[in-house]
């Protein structure tokens, strides 16, 4: 019987792309790996994340105790919440009086475990902090007048409690910032059809991601109302994609006239 000491590898690299071609990429990868190993907190675990979203995030998971910032897309923010909610976590929403509850349910959020505080008023920070104490993921629209000290206080509260903040808008200490661009709706024509599916480009930048923002194509949602990645087109550091691009569904062009 041989005793071997297994080096604990952080699980965050399980889904990282294997082929590394350029030196810059290799350096970035190694740096990220060092950072992962240097992580000092014990409780820094990943939350269950839906597969379409996992690809976007640094490390491939939604991290407990971190903050993420999503720009200009409530659907994308709801998709971030869907994974933890489907796995049984409670979610809270602060300061979104116009949230489409049906869209939340369609994204995969269990409404039985969703709590809304649409009008926190002046007490945004207190309400968000109190919710973060008990729920796993908080989706919130931060007010413009939030001081750096308040951001830091909420950040440490989140780390302590291990709950995740998804900020709809700018958040200074975010783990990753997700922006939606190049909105393309399918199914709607010139006076006919209906909005059936949407394909967007999500650009992800963050503290742990160096260099240019990572860009991914995403169905948000597809015709089956499922959020899923739409091929690997548009990886900026590589001129030609090395892997074959999975065929994107073309049925919209046919289905457009309905």
């Amino acid at each position: 019987m041989s005793l071997s000491v297994a080096t604990p590898r952080p699980p965050v690299f399980a889904g990282a792309p294997a082929p590394v071609e350029t030196a810059a990429n290799q350096v970035a990868e190694l740096q990220a790996r060092i950072r992962g190993m240097q992580r000092t907190r014990i409780d820094s675990h990943g939350l269950p994340t839906s597969p379409g979203i996992a690809e976007l995030l640094p490390g491939g998971v939604l991290r407990a105790g971190a903050a993420y910032s999503v720009h200009e897309s409530t659907s994308l923010a709801l998709a971030l919440l869907a994974g933890p909610s489907a796995a049984g976590a409670w979610c809270g929403v602060v300061g979104l009086p116009a949230l489409g509850v049906e869209a939340a349910a369609a994204a995969g959020i269990d409404l039985d475990r969703l709590v809304l505080v649409p009008e926190p008023g002046e007490q945004w920070l207190q309400v968000t902090a109190a919710l973060a104490d008990v729920v796993t993921v908080v989706l919130a629209r931060p007010p413009a007048s939030l001081s750096a000290a308040e951001v830091a206080r909420l950040g440490s509260r989140l780390r302590q409690r291990g709950s995740t903040l998804v900020a709809l808008g700018e958040w200074p200490q975010s783990e990753a910032t997700l922006r939606v661009s190049d909105d393309r709706w399918m199914g709607l024509g010139d006076g006919h059809g209906f909005l059936a599916a949407r394909r967007v480009t999500v650009s992800v930048s963050g503290r742990t991601l160096t260099g240019k923002p990572r860009r991914k194509q995403l169905w948000l949602p597809d015709t089956e109302q499922v959020v899923r990645p739409a091929g690997l087109a548009g990886v900026p550091t590589r001129p030609v994609p090395a892997q074959p691009v999975p065929a994107t569904p073309v049925r919209f062009d046919e289905a457009a006239v309905s």
């Binding site: 116009a98 509850v101 409404l111 729920v135 709607l188 059936a196």
Partner: protein, 524 residues
């Protein structure tokens, strides 16, 4: 077997039209108004005014309304009935122990004790009527006879010669008293029909039948009915144990008009309220708060709790009710003189005991959300349901944490299960504006885009300006989808819906009605 042979001499106290009087008092209706309480589509009880117009128990609602056009129709609420009768029974128990509550409006007690104490049956009955007048019941009647059944018939006796509120059937003469009544009084419709077809119309002729023959023909139920008809009522008075009064009342002298003062003053009372329940190993899962004001107004509201009320929770509910969401809900316009909190539903504390190794996750959620509720108010923390409807805003129901949706969960599920033809297909919009927003849509050269009665567009939309934005080109659109809801009603609506994608790729759900173009939701 003395009990079976000699019926218990009983006093029965009857408040005529109790259900309608209780409902009228609780809802603040005029006492003389024609009122009917409905259970399963039939009239369950009606007030004297309604009866004089020909409304009877057991009529269909429509029939009752056609007989009395200004009839006020309300659903029958047995809980309300019991709740309003409870103080009356409590007042009776103050002067006569051992009261059986037959149903709201009727209670029975043994005659022996009170008649000896008050020096006679008539005096005892008079003492009861005086007590009832003291709690606001003026038209009660008392029947005294051998056995509760005969006493009830005496109290309810409707005859032009008897006008006294106290009806006493002398001891041993109950069979004689009961003999002329019809067999319907036994409240066994099948037996009564059968007896009538056999030519037996009165209790007296039923009583004349032989015991053994009745048993052979009608079985044990028949024997019981036969005993009642013969004046040998086998039932005893089953005195109730008076329930412990867990309610907490605080009078303010001088009246208070500031929420913080009231909450501060009620703090100790709330703690005592919870401690008293705890002493009986109970927890309250719903409480009822009644607020009386200086100008004689009194408002009640029931508050539910997802788990059970602590002193802090009770205090929060008091504060919320006094503040109201605006004054409309609390309806208060003057200083508060009296505050009463009573448990509406209680549960054994054992069912709510915390686990040995700390509470479950849900318990943490409840306490955390209660904290948030104490910051932003009861209606500030919401849970969501999806209901049925054609507009996205109709399909969203927001319910305060711990409350039930209007009409209950079952009605939400029922409306969700309906087909709702004409709803928008495709993914639901992620942003549904609480107030729809004004947008600008125009055709080529700024032409108006309108829809005529045949659903034809007057121009193709080419330019779109979002709320507060600059006009841009329309890249795709579809519509109009007409919606005509409740066209027969003043609250109905006719509108046309459109989906539209603007030049930056943003998708909108638009509505065109008589007042112009509106954005209802955004697919962002």
């Amino acid at each position: 077997m003395t009990a079976s042979m000699s019926p218990v001499r009983s006093i029965l106290l009857w408040c005529p039209d109790w259900p309608t009087n209780a409902a009228a008092a609780e809802l603040g209706l005029a006492p003389g108004a024609p009122l009917a309480l409905i259970e399963r589509g039939d009239v369950f009880a009606c007030s004297a005014a309604a009866r004089s117009e020909g409304v009877r128990r057991g009529l269909r609602v429509r029939e009752a309304q056609s007989r009395c056009t200004d009839l006020v129709v309300l659903p029958y609420d047995p809980v309300l009935d019991h709740r309003v009768f409870e103080p009356v029974v409590a007042a009776v128990e103050q002067i006569v122990p051992g009261v059986e509550l037959s149903r709201p409006g009727t209670c029975v007690m043994r005659a022996r004790g009170p008649s000896r104490y008050y020096g006679g049956e008539r005096q005892a009955a008079q003492a009861l009527l005086d007590t009832l007048a003291g709690v606001g019941v003026s038209d009660a009647r008392v029947g005294i006879a051998d056995g509760p059944f005969a006493a009830e018939q005496a109290a309810k006796l409707h005859s032009p010669t008897v006008t006294d509120a106290i009806r006493i059937v002398p001891a041993g003469r109950s069979p004689e008293f009961l003999a002329p009544f019809g067999v319907e009084l036994l409240e066994r419709p099948e037996l009564a029909t059968l007896l009538r077809r056999l030519g037996i119309h009165t209790l007296g002729s039923f009583a004349a039948l032989d015991d053994m023959q009745v048993r052979d023909r009608f079985g044990p139920h028949g024997v019981l009915a036969h005993r009642l008809a013969s004046g040998f009522d086998p039932s005893d008075v089953d005195a109730r144990v008076p329930p412990a009064d867990h309610s907490s009342v605080l009078e303010f002298e001088p009246p208070l008009d500031r929420v913080d003062q009231i909450a501060f003053a009620f703090r100790t009372a709330a703690e005592e309220f919870v401690a008293r329940l705890q002493a009986s190993s109970l927890v309250a899962t719903a409480i009822r708060i009644n607020v009386s004001t200086e100008n004689g107004d009194s408002r009640s509201r029931t508050w539910l709790h997802p788990r059970w009320f602590t002193a802090g929770d009770v205090l929060d509910r008091v504060r919320w009710q006094v503040q109201g969401a605006g004054l409309a809900e609390s309806g208060l316009n003057s200083a508060i003189t009296r505050l009463r909190v009573e448990p509406e539903s209680v549960d054994p504390a054992g069912n709510h005991e915390a686990g040995l190794y700390g509470g479950a996750t849900d318990e943490r959620i409840h306490s955390g959300l209660s904290r948030v509720q104490s910051m932003v108010g009861h209606t500030g923390v919401l849970t969501a349901r999806i209901a049925g409807g054609r507009q996205p805003s109709d399909r969203r129901i927001l319910v305060p944490w711990g409350d039930l949706p209007p009409g209950g969960e079952a009605s939400v599920r029922a409306s969700q299960a309906l087909p709702w033809p004409g709803r928008v297909p495709g993914p639901p919009p992620a942003t549904v504006f609480p107030e729809r927003r004004r947008v600008l849509v125009s055709g080529t050269g700024g032409a108006d885009v309108a829809v005529d009665d045949r659903g034809e567009l007057s121009a193709v939309p080419v330019s779109f300006a979002e709320p507060g934005g600059r006009p841009g080109a329309v890249s795709a659109w579809a519509g109009p989808w007409p919606v005509t809801e409740r066209w027969w009603d003043a609250g109905g609506r006719r509108l046309n819906r459109f989906q539209l994608v603007d030049e930056s790729g943003g998708a909108w759900l638009l509505v065109l009605d008589d007042s112009g173009w509106w954005a209802e939701a955004r697919y962002d």
